[in-house]
Amino acid sequence: MTTTPALELRSLSKRYRKRGNVVAALDDVSTTLQEGRIYGLLGRNGAGKSTLMSLATAQAFPTSGEALVFGHTAYEHRPTLATLCFVKESQKYPDDFEVRHALHCASLAFRHWDADFAARLVTELRLPTDRRIKKLSRGQLSAVGIVIGLASRAELTFFDEPYLGLDAVARQVFYDRLLEDFAEHPRTIVLSSHLIDEVADVLEHVLLLEDGRLVLDAPADEVRGGVTTLHGPTRAVLDAAGSHEVLARKDLGPVTQLTVKARYSGAELAAAEAQSIGVEPATLQQTIVFLTRAGERADA
C-alpha cells in the first residue's frame, strides 16, 4: 500500500518584483514530506520559510509549481483545508480579540480540537485568557499560536518560529508537550526555525532553505554527527583526519583543531582516542553551518 505524502511540493516558486528586479522568495522547491514525522524547516531570516508554509496552506499564491497536501491542493478545498493548521508568527487577529475568543474560534474550526489539552497548555504557558491579543507580549503571542497548533491536532500542522519570546520554562513545556502528544496522536509537524539548536532535539528530518532554495533535505540523524571536530597535537590530528574532507582548520602553536566531514565510530574513534585526540561530533546547527559554508566555498 502506498500512502499519500502529507505534503508534496513540485517546483514551488514565488517571485515578486522589487524595484524592477525579480526576486525569488522561493525558488523551484521540490520535496516530499511523509505522514507521521516531525520536520524542521530551517534557514536564516528571509530564506523563504514563511513563504513556503503560506504557499503550502494556500494562504498565499505560488508564481509557479504546486503544493499538494495529502494529494490535493489546499486552495478553496474544504476537505484538504480541514487537515491543516498554520498560525503565522506574525498572525493577525480580529480587532479587540481576547485570547479566549481566539481559542474559542479554534475550537469551532478544528475538528480534532482537544479542549482539555488546550486548557492545560494555557495554564502551563501562563497565558492570560482575558487579555486582549494586542496587549500580549511577544512570548504570549507565540503561546497563543502554540496552543492553537497543538490542540488543533491537525493532520499537517505548521509552527512558525514557535519559541519567539518564550522563556526557558515555556519553551521546554512546548517541546515536552509536542513530543508527548505526537506520540499519542501521530501527525505531520513542520517546525520552522532560524535557530537550529533550539529545535534540533525534536526533529526527525531536516529541510534547509537558503535564499529561497532547498539546499538540504535529509533525516536529522544522517545530518547530525556527520561533521566531527578533532583537537589535539597537530600531527596526531592530521593522522586521525586521514582522507576525510576538511571543513575548517585552526592552528594554535602545536595544537590543531580540525573539522572534518565524517562520522567517527568503532575502530576509527578508538584509534583517535588512543592518540588522546578530542573527538567531538558537531551539533545539528554546527553541522549545518559547516556544510552550507562548504557549499558556498564550492560555489565561489
Binding site: S54, T57, Q59, A60, F61, E76, H77, R78, L81, A82, L84, C85, F86, V87, K88, Q91, K92, Y93, P94, D95, D96, F97, E98, H101, A102, H104, C105, A106, L108, A109, F110, R111, I148, A154
Partner: protein, 241 residues
C-alpha cells in the same frame, strides 16, 4: 465535523460581541442621548419649532469600519483556522444580513416610540421623518415597513462599502486603496458633470419620481450594496492572508 464551515466562519467573525452588538449600541445610544440633550436645551430656551436630527447616521459610519476590518484583520485569522476564502465571504454575508435586519428592527421600533411619544415629548424627529412634517422629504409615517427596508439596506450598504475597500486594500495594498478611493470619487464627479452637460436630469427624474422617495432610496442603496459585494467577491478569491 457537523457544523457547516460557513456557520463556523460566521461565528468566528462574530465571536467578539463588541463588533456587532456593544459598539453599534453604544454609538447609537450616545448619538441619541446627545441629540435629546441638545433638544432639551433648545426647548428649555423656549423654542417651539419642529426639531430634526440626522444623528441616526452615526452607527452607519461605524459599519464602514466593521466592513473594512472584517477583511483586514478577521480574514487573516479565518485563514489561520483553515477556512476557505469562499466560506469567509459567505460567513461575512450571513453576519451582515442578520445584523442589518436586527438593527433595522431596532431603529424601526425607536421610530415607533418616537411617533407615539410625540417626538420624545419635544416634537423632535430622528428615526422617522413623515412627509407631512416640515423637512420630511416625502418619507412615510413612523412605523411604516419602509423604515425596516431602508435601514436594513443602509446598514448593508455601509458594511458593503467598507468590505469592498477593505478587500481592495488586502489585495492591492495602500496604493491600490488610495487609487480605488480617488477613482471612485473621480467617477462620481465625472458622472455628475456629464449628467449636467448632457441633461440627464429629466430622465433621472422620470426613473426616480419625487413622489416615490423611499422606493428610490431603497433602489439606490441596494444597487450600491450589491456593487460593493460584487467587488469583494471578485477580489477575495485571490487575496493572500
Amino acid at each position: 465535523m457537523s457544523t457547516s464551515p460557513i456557520l463556523v466562519s460566521a461565528r468566528v467573525q462574530a465571536a467578539n460581541r463588541n463588533t456587532f452588538v456593544w459598539v453599534p449600541l453604544l454609538v447609537l445610544g450616545g448619538s441619541t442621548v446627545l441629540t435629546l440633550a441638545v433638544w432639551w436645551a433648545v426647548k428649555a430656551a423656549g423654542a417651539e419649532t419642529q426639531l430634526f436630527s440626522g444623528s441616526v447616521q452615526a452607527p452607519f459610519w461605524y459599519l464602514l469600519v466593521v466592513g473594512a476590518q472584517a477583511v483586514a484583520l478577521t480574514f487573516p485569522f479565518t485563514q489561520a483556522l483553515s477556512l476557505s476564502r469562499r466560506d469567509f465571504w459567505l460567513g461575512a454575508m450571513l453576519n451582515f444580513s442578520v445584523f442589518s435586519v436586527l438593527f433595522a428592527v431596532l431603529l424601526w421600533l425607536l421610530g415607533l416610540v418616537e411617533g407615539a411619544t410625540g417626538g420624545w415629548w419635544m416634537n423632535g424627529r430622528m428615526f422617522a421623518f413623515p412627509a407631512e412634517l416640515e423637512g420630511g422629504a416625502g418619507f412615510p409615517n413612523a412605523g411604516s415597513p419602509w423604515y425596516l427596508l431602508l435601514y436594513a439596506l443602509l446598514a448593508m450598504m455601509a458594511l458593503s462599502i467598507g468590505f469592498a475597500f477593505g478587500t481592495v486594500y488586502k489585495r492591492f495594498g495602500p496604493t491600490g486603496l488610495t487609487l480605488a478611493i480617488t477613482g471612485t470619487v473621480a467617477a462620481v464627479i465625472v458622472l455628475f458633470v456629464l449628467s449636467v452637460r448632457l441633461d440627464w436630469w429629466p430622465t433621472l427624474q422620470a426613473w426616480f419620481p419625487a413622489d416615490r422617495v423611499p422606493g428610490n432610496v431603497a433602489i439606490i442603496t441596494g444597487v450600491i450594496a450589491a456593487l460593493g459585494f460584487f467587488v469583494s467577491w471578485a477580489l477575495i478569491r485571490r487575496v493572500p492572508a
